[in-house]
Each structure stands twice: as C-alpha cells, then as structure tokens.
Subunit: 332 residues, 2 copies
DNA sequence: CTGAAAGCGCTAACAA
DNA sequence: TTGTTAGCGCTTTCAG
C-alpha cells in the first residue's frame, strides 16, 4: 500500500508537456495530433503505467464497457460453455462480463437486473430464464439479446435450430430400425422443447409413422427425475418401445442406466438419443448419441449482436437460428 | 428509448425539497437527518425510481462494488460451483462479479488482470491458475484472495484440506480390503495434489503398508488421458493392483470404465476412489466413491475474506483450510 | 439537522 | 494541431 494514488490523465499531461485534451485524444485515437506528440504521449503513458479510470469515462460517456450475462445455472455445462465463449470474444473487444446466476428464481433474477442497471452495463445477454420478461423500468432502452429460450416479448433472439435437431434425432432412430420411439421431454415445455418435438414428429411422418400420445412422457429435466419416470413406465407397461428420444443428455443418460440395470440392451434392444452434447455423453459406456448445439456460434452471434446494438447499428436479423448437428455414438 | 435521461440525485433533491447532500445522507444511512426528512426523501426516491449511478460513486470513492474472479475453466463443474456460490453471497452484499476465464493461459490471464484493474474492481478472487503470480504493477495494493491452488507468493489463501482428503481416500480403500493401491495423479503435481498424496501415504503407513514408486502413475487430468494410461498399464503389467486412488473424478471415471471394459469387476476386483465429488459421480454405474470438497464453504470464506480486506480489516487468518468429507458410493 | 460547494478523472465543444 | 473549460453524479468537508 505505498504510493497508492493512481496516476491520472493530468499526471501524464504534465509529464508529457501537453494538455489533458491531447492525452485524451491519443488515448482514444481521435486524431488531431502530430506524429511526434502522439509518440511522446504514448511513451509517457507507458512510463507512468497509466490506465484510464473507467468510472470517470463511464460517468462522462454513460458507457461502462461491460456486459451483463444472466444465466439460469452456471453449473450446467451448456451454459458454462456459452459464458466461456462470450468471455473470450468480449475480452478481445475490451468488454468484460458481469455474470449473474439466476437459479431460475424470479426474485433473484430481478435483483440481478437491478444490479446490472445500476452498474450501467452497456447491454444484457439473457441466457434463458423465464418465459416472459417483464420489462422493468430500470432497463428501458438497454440493449438485450436473448439466447436459447424465447420469451414472448423478446426482440432480438439467438437460438439453435431445435426443429432440425428433433428431426435428426428422429431420423437417426428410425434409420437404425426403431419403430416405437418414446419421446421423453422437459415437463416445462419451453419453446425449444416444442420445436424439438415438431422436428421429431416430422421425421416420423416422413416415414409414414404416426406419433401417439402414449409415447410421450415428461418430467423435470434431471437425472433422478428421468430415472423415476422410466422405472415406473417399465414396471407398469414393460419395454414396449425400441427407441427413446430425450430432450436433454441427463435424461438420456438416466434412460441408458435404467435400461441397462433392467437387463435391456442398449443399443441392442432400445436405442437412445439425447440433446446438447455435454461432455458427459462421451464418458459413459455406452457413449451417448446426441444432438450438438453449437455453443460457440451461439455465443459469438450474441456477443456480436449486442455490440452492434450498443453501437446503435440497426439489427436487421432479429432472430438468428444456429445449425445443430447429430453426433452418432454408441447408443444408436 | 423515450425520456432516456436517468433520474439523478439532483432530481430527487429538488422534488423532495432538500439539498443533494441530504439525499446522499439518507441513501447512505449516514445519519444527520430527521425522521421526517428521511421519510420524505425515501418516498421520493421510490417515486422517481432513482438508482444511484455507480460510476459517479466509484469516481468519488474509488470503489466499484465489484469483484473480479479469475478461473481456469468455468466449464469445470468444480469451479462453476464456486462461482455460483460467490455470486449468491456477493449479490446479497450488493457486489457483482466480473468473471474471467483464464483457460490456464498465462497471456489471457494477464490481459484479464489488466482489464480488472482498469475496471477498478475492489478485489480479486483468484481461483487457481499459475503456480506463481507475478505481481503486476496494475494490481499493487489490490486485495487478492486465492482459492484452491497456492501460488508461492500468495498472501491470503483458502484451500480444502487435501491432506485429510487423501488420507480418507486411502483409509477407505484399505478398510475395504485393498492391499496394492494405484495412485493416479495429475501430472502437473500442484500443491493440492502433493497434499493428497501425503495424506494417502499416511493412511498406508498407519496400517504398516508401504508406498512404492511403481504404484504411482500420472497424466494430464482428463478422461481421455487417464484412459490411455490405465489401458497401457493393464496391457503391460496386467491387473496387479486391487485399488485406485485418482486425484480427480474424471480420472476415476476413466479407470472404472477401462476396468469394466476389461472384464475387471468394480468394486469386486478393484476398488476406486476419486476426488471433488462432481455430480457426474452419481450418474455413472457404478456410482463413484469420492472425496467431496465443500465448494460452498470455500466460496463463502473467500468472499467474506475479500470483503474484510476491502474494508481494511486485518486478516489474522492468512490461510484457511476447509474440511472435506468422504462420500462412499458403489466403487468401494 | 441541513445546505453550499469542491472535486473525483475524464470527454467534447469551443477557441485559438 | 493544440489548449481551455464545463460538466457527468456523487460524497464529503465545512459552515451555519
């Protein structure tokens, strides 16, 4: 804690023998200075170890060079990957990330939004969350980009091609010989899940197969819940199906494990496809066939879009769909 | 974008018919105002939807109410859990988190540190990273708390009781009948891993068992790498051991899978213990016995400590050790 | 108990 | 090409 005082633009100006305006100009590359002056100022900045005070800049310009990210659960690998990519991309643009974990909790989310507004973030990237966003006073006029889930009143949206994902999953199962495919979905039935079902049904119809209600099951999208559902189904009705499409990988894994424990061979008797391609799917045996969402692309598009909105560029593409791909492994 | 201008303390003061100083006082609960004045000001603040401008506050007070967190890989559940807890705890103290993913990359890490310094964070929580931190100019005087790994020149440190963790793992294996236990460790041999080994060896010695070099293997701590190492070992020397202690869960899982694929029964012939208690360990079959680190405690201590340092309180406990516990599941 | 006013570090309009 | 200067919104002395 010695010589605590930070060096300011004034110190630099004095030391370089110019005015603070000039220093400011070269920092911001605004032009209007000679080559020599620039050289001298830059050297001085270097020597003093000067770094601009973002609070002062923010106060003046109403900008903070930071972006808020709200995510339901950072512990979920899918979301964590998006954050990692956002972080990498935005660092290169000299932005930083204020990360907020909403825990899917409405109150927490609102507190975080307030906090972000107070912190004067330049924009918010909303990774999933509620199905309807209440536009709070605090964030009126603040650029917001939604990823993944699509709240009703969202304006700018980046999502995976869930419909095609469902289709690919269905087609894979059918091609590998399945005729009665169970559809195990997130009980909350968000727009993403609905799209996956649509694609899945399309694949069925393409082969003249009908989708029947009794083949659809739902549960809270977690390992333990999915286990319970499948165990009960097996006990009550036996193994009357030969394929399962689960709307996420944790549920798919639960199915594989329950099946195996019940001496039902995977993929011999029943084939399974998941969704998300979390790394876990490679570490199980058998490894799980799944639909991969392109988290990197999702993140980069979101970051790019929010930056454009911050610069007041017009966003012509309000809704971007990122392609998915099928990753065939050992459960099909 | 209508009526864009944010309401400031001046607006509130005018509307409440007091001076800005008074408004400031009640906001900060600094005392020196009557009950009535306070009441009136509070109501006005409410009515206007006033939120203080943190940039202005930061400029005045040299505080930002934000804390930087540097983490090697947010995609790793162990780190993600810590961030989640930090976020929850710090939100309640009106701090926000600037999250930086270092990717274990030296250059990236330094860029992030610079960014954090410019952003005027009030402190930095350093979750692991290099083994030696170069104190950069930018962060002199900035409170830093290290979690998990212990760089040489770290002053304040929060870590898990890795020694006991290793001991518990060893004892569990021995109690369940193991006599030749393989020690599979992270090849980088950080201080955490060294402690785990020490505890493990202590458990051995307690039972009069010796630790022999040929029982120690190392690799980059990932699923695929661990697989390769164990597969080769099995091919070259056969299954000459009856237990494995792996220094993280991914390696433990790799062992279980390789063993199973080679018709070696787990836990029948070989028992396995991992480290970290990531959620994956419950989703495999057999479920993996492991040593749980208390991420919540780790996070809360770190947050609490950094807050104290920010308040210039003296930190008497420079080095805090958080207890671990053994979670017995199906591989032992 | 309350108010006036200085000033934190910076940008941008205006002058020169 | 460069300098001067008025604030941005807030906290905090100092006076009253």
């Amino acid at each position: 804690m010695e010589g605590n005082k930070r060096v300011s633009i004034i110190d630099v100006a004095k030391k370089a023998g110019v005015s603070i305006a000039t220093v400011s100009r070269v920092i911001n590359r605004n032009g209007g200075y000679s080559k020599e002056t620039e050289e001298r100022v830059r050297r001085t900045i270097e020597e003093c170890g000067f770094t601009p005070n973002v609070n002062a800049i923010g106060l003046r310009t109403n900008r903070s060079n930071s972006i808020g990210v709200i995510v339901p659960d950072i512990t979920n690998e899918f979301f964590a990957r998006i954050i990692r990519e956002l972080d990498a991309f935005l660092l290169s643009r000299r932005y930083s990330l204020l990360v907020c974990n909403s825990n899917e909790d409405y109150m927490l989310e609102n507190m975080h939004i307030k906090g972000l507004a107070e912190k004067h973030v330049d924009g918010i990237i909303y990774i999933s969350g509620q199905n309807e966003i209440k536009k709070m006073n605090e964030i009126k006029g603040l650029p917001i980009v939604y990823i993944d889930r699509a709240p009703k009143n969202a304006e700018v949206l980046i999502l995976s091609d869930n419909e095609t994902g469902g289709y690919l999953a269905g087609r894979e199962l059918i091609q590998k010989g399945c005729r009665r495919i169970l559809f195990l979905r997130d009980i909350r039935y968000a727009s993403t899940v609905r799209s996956r079902k649509e694609g899945f049904v399309r694949a069925l119809q393409e082969k003249g197969m009908a989708f029947s209600e009794e083949l659809e099951m739902s549960c809270f999208p977690e390992y333990a819940e999915a286990r319970v559902v499948l165990e009960r189904l097996l006990k009550e009705k036996g193994c009357f199906f030969d394929g399962i499409f689960a709307t996420n990988d944790m549920m798919a894994l639960a199915c594989v494990n329950v099946l195996t424990e019940n001496q039902i061979k995977v993929p011999g008797q029943v084939k399974v496809v998941g969704f998300d391609n979390i790394s876990l799917t490679q570490f199980t045996s058998p490894q799980i066939t799944t639909v991969a969402q392109d988290t990197k692309e999702l993140a980069i598009h979101a970051a790019d879009t929010i930056l454009k909105m911050i610069e007041d560029e017009e966003i012509k593409q309000k809704r971007t769909i990122i392609p998915v791909r099928l990753v065939v492994r050992e459960t099909t």
